[in-house]
C-alpha cells in the first residue's frame, strides 16, 4: 500500500518501482490480449498512466494491488482490442500461443521462469473444456453469458466449468499446491 500511496502523491519513482515489479506481467497481458508487441507497449503505457492518475482511488480493503492492477490491465487490453480489432476468439488459449510467443523468444524477450512454467503445467492439466472457458473469459474478455451463446452450451455448464477450472488451479497453485 505504501507504494500506491506514494504514487497517489505523484511520486514518479514509486511508479517506476511498481513498473519494475509488474511491468512484465502487464506487458504480457497486453501482448496476449491485444496481439502484438506494439499494442502491448501502448497498453502498458495506458495502464501505468491510469495507475498514476487513479492511485488515489485504490482501496486496500477491496483487494490487493495486484488484483487492482490486473483489472486495469485486462480492461485496457480488451478495450484496445475492441478499438483496433482483435484476434478472433478461437486464438485465445490458456496454453502459451506457440506461434506468437516463439517469434518473441527469438528476440530473447521471453524469460521462461520456473514459476511461469509451473503455472502453464497446472493449466495444461485442466480438462480442455474447463481450460477453454477460462481462456475465453480471461484472455478473450467474454462474460459467461457471451461464452454460452458463442459456444452454444448452457450457461450453467459454462459457470460450472469456470468454477471447477479455477478451483483446480487454486489447489495446484496455492500454498501447498502440488508442483
Amino acid at each position: 500500500m505504501a507504494l500506491v500511496a506514494r504514487i497517489a502523491a505523484q511520486d514518479a519513482r514509486a511508479l517506476g518501482e511498481l513498473y519494475d515489479a509488474y511491468g512484465r506481467v502487464v506487458f504480457g497481458v497486453g501482448f496476449r490480449i491485444a496481439g502484438s508487441p506494439e499494442a502491448a507497449e501502448e497498453v502498458a503505457q495506458d495502464v501505468f498512466q491510469a495507475v498514476w492518475r487513479q492511485a488515489r482511488s485504490y482501496r486496500a480493503e477491496r483487494g490487493s494491488v495486484r488484483t487492482w492492477l490486473l483489472a486495469i490491465a485486462r480492461n485496457a487490453a480488451i478495450d484496445w482490442g475492441r478499438t483496433h480489432g482483435r484476434r478472433s476468439n478461437r486464438e485465445y488459449s490458456l496454453d502459451a500461443a506457440p506461434g506468437l510467443v516463439a517469434e518473441v523468444q527469438v528476440e530473447e524477450r521471453v524469460i521462461a521462469s520456473l514459476r511461469a512454467e509451473r503455472i502453464r503445467v497446472a493449466v495444461r492439466m485442466l480438462p480442455t473444456e474447463q481450460r477453454d472457458v477460462v481462456a475465453l473469459a480471461f484472455w478473450g474478455g467474454l462474460s459467461q453469458t457471451e461464452i454460452a451463446a458463442r459456444a452454444g452450451i448452457p450457461l450453467g455448464t459454462v459457470k460450472s466449468r469456470i468454477r471447477l477450472g479455477m478451483e483446480k488451479l487454486r489447489e495446484r497453485l496455492g500454498p501447498g499446491g502440488e508442483e
Binding site: 505523484q10 514518479a12 511508479l15 517506476g16 513498473y19 511491468g23 512484465r24 506481467v25 506487458f27 504480457g28 497481458v29 501482448f31 496476449r32 508487441p37 502491448a40 507497449e41 501502448e42 502498458a44 503505457q45 495506458d46 501505468f48 491510469a50 498514476w52 492518475r53 482511488s57 477491496r62 490487493s64 488484483t67 490486473l70 485486462r74 480492461n75 485496457a76 478495450d79 484496445w80 478499438t83 524477450r109 521471453v110 514459476r115 511461469a116 503455472i119 502453464r120 497446472a122 493449466v123 473469459a137 480471461f138 474478455g141 467474454l142 462474460s143 459467461q144 453469458t145 459457470k159 469456470i162 468454477r163 477450472g165 479455477m166 478451483e167 488451479l169 487454486r170 497453485l173 496455492g174
Partner: protein, 230 residues
C-alpha cells in the same frame, strides 16, 4: 446468511460476470469476510494466469512512461470519474426528425455556408433519413453536436467544435455500460465536420466527445464537451 455468491466468485475473479451479477457480488463483499478471503485466493489464481504470460517489454517503455508522467504530473481528477460524473447530468432525448427535407445531405457544401451556426442548423435539419439525437454540451463552451442514426449505414456525428489546441484532437466515444470505446477523431480545424463513428451503436449507448492527445487515445482522459444517450 445463505446467499453467499460462492458460485460466482471464480468468474468474478477473471472478469466473466455480467454486470448485474458483478454488482451483486460487489454489494455482498463488504459485508462478508469469508467471501473476500475466497476472492483474494481466486484473485491470486487470476494473477498467476497473467504471470504465466509475462514478457519483457522493450527497454524504452519504462523511460517513456516516467518521462510522460513527470511532464504531466497533473492532479486532474481521474478521467473516468469525470466522464461518469458528466453522465449523471440530464441529457436530451431523441428528437425524431419528421421533416423529410428534400435537401440532399451535402455537408461538404454546407461547410462553406455563410456562417457556421447556419451550417450546423442546416446540416441537422437536412438529415432526411434517420434519427437525430442532440448531444448536450456539458460546459458553457461553444461545442455543438448531433448524433445521426441513419436507417441504414453507419451512425455519424455532426459536430461544430472549436479547433483543437496544438497536440490535441477531438475524440468521439461510444460508452457501453461502463466501457468507453474509442469511436473516431477529428479536429485540426474549427467549424462544421462530420465524423462517422467507427463503432456500431446499440440501444442505451452513450455518445461523448472529449479533447484528447493528438492521434487519439484508447481510454478517455478529457472532460466530455458533448454527451448524448442513444
Amino acid at each position: 446468511m445463505t446467499d453467499h455468491p460462492s458460485e460466482d466468485l471464480a468468474a468474478y475473479a477473471i472478469g466473466a460476470l455480467d454486470r448485474a451479477e458483478r454488482a451483486a457480488v460487489d454489494a455482498h463483499l463488504p459485508t462478508c469476510a469469508a467471501c473476500r478471503a475466497d476472492l483474494e485466493a481466486l484473485g491470486d489464481v487470476a494473477w498467476s494466469l497473467a504471470e504465466s504470460a509475462s514478457l519483457d517489454p522493450p527497454a524504452r517503455t519504462r523511460g517513456r512512461l516516467l518521462d510522460g508522467v513527470r511532464s504531466s504530473r497533473s492532479r486532474e481528477e481521474p478521467p473516468l470519474v469525470a466522464l461518469w460524473r458528466a453522465l449523471t447530468r440530464p441529457v436530451p432525448i431523441a428528437i425524431p426528425v419528421a421533416l423529410a427535407v428534400a435537401v440532399a445531405f451535402a455537408l461538404v457544401g454546407l461547410r462553406e455556408a455563410r456562417t457556421d451556426a447556419d451550417a450546423y442548423a442546416r446540416a441537422v435539419a437536412g438529415v432526411a433519413d434517420g434519427r437525430v439525437v442532440a448531444l448536450a454540451p456539458t460546459s458553457d463552451g461553444t461545442a455543438r453536436g448531433a448524433l445521426v442514426v441513419p436507417s441504414s449505414g453507419s451512425p455519424y456525428l455532426i459536430l461544430q467544435l472549436p479547433a483543437a489546441p496544438a497536440g490535441k484532437t477531438w475524440e468521439a466515444w461510444v460508452i457501453r455500460g461502463e466501457r468507453p470505446l474509442a469511436a473516431g477523431i477529428t479536429g485540426e480545424r474549427s467549424g462544421l465536420v462530420t465524423l462517422v463513428l467507427s463503432q456500431a451503436l446499440v440501444p442505451g449507448d452513450v455518445v461523448a466527445v472529449t479533447l484528447e492527445e493528438a492521434g487519439g487515445v484508447a481510454v478517455p482522459r478529457g472532460q466530455p464537451v458533448l454527451l448524448g444517450k442513444t
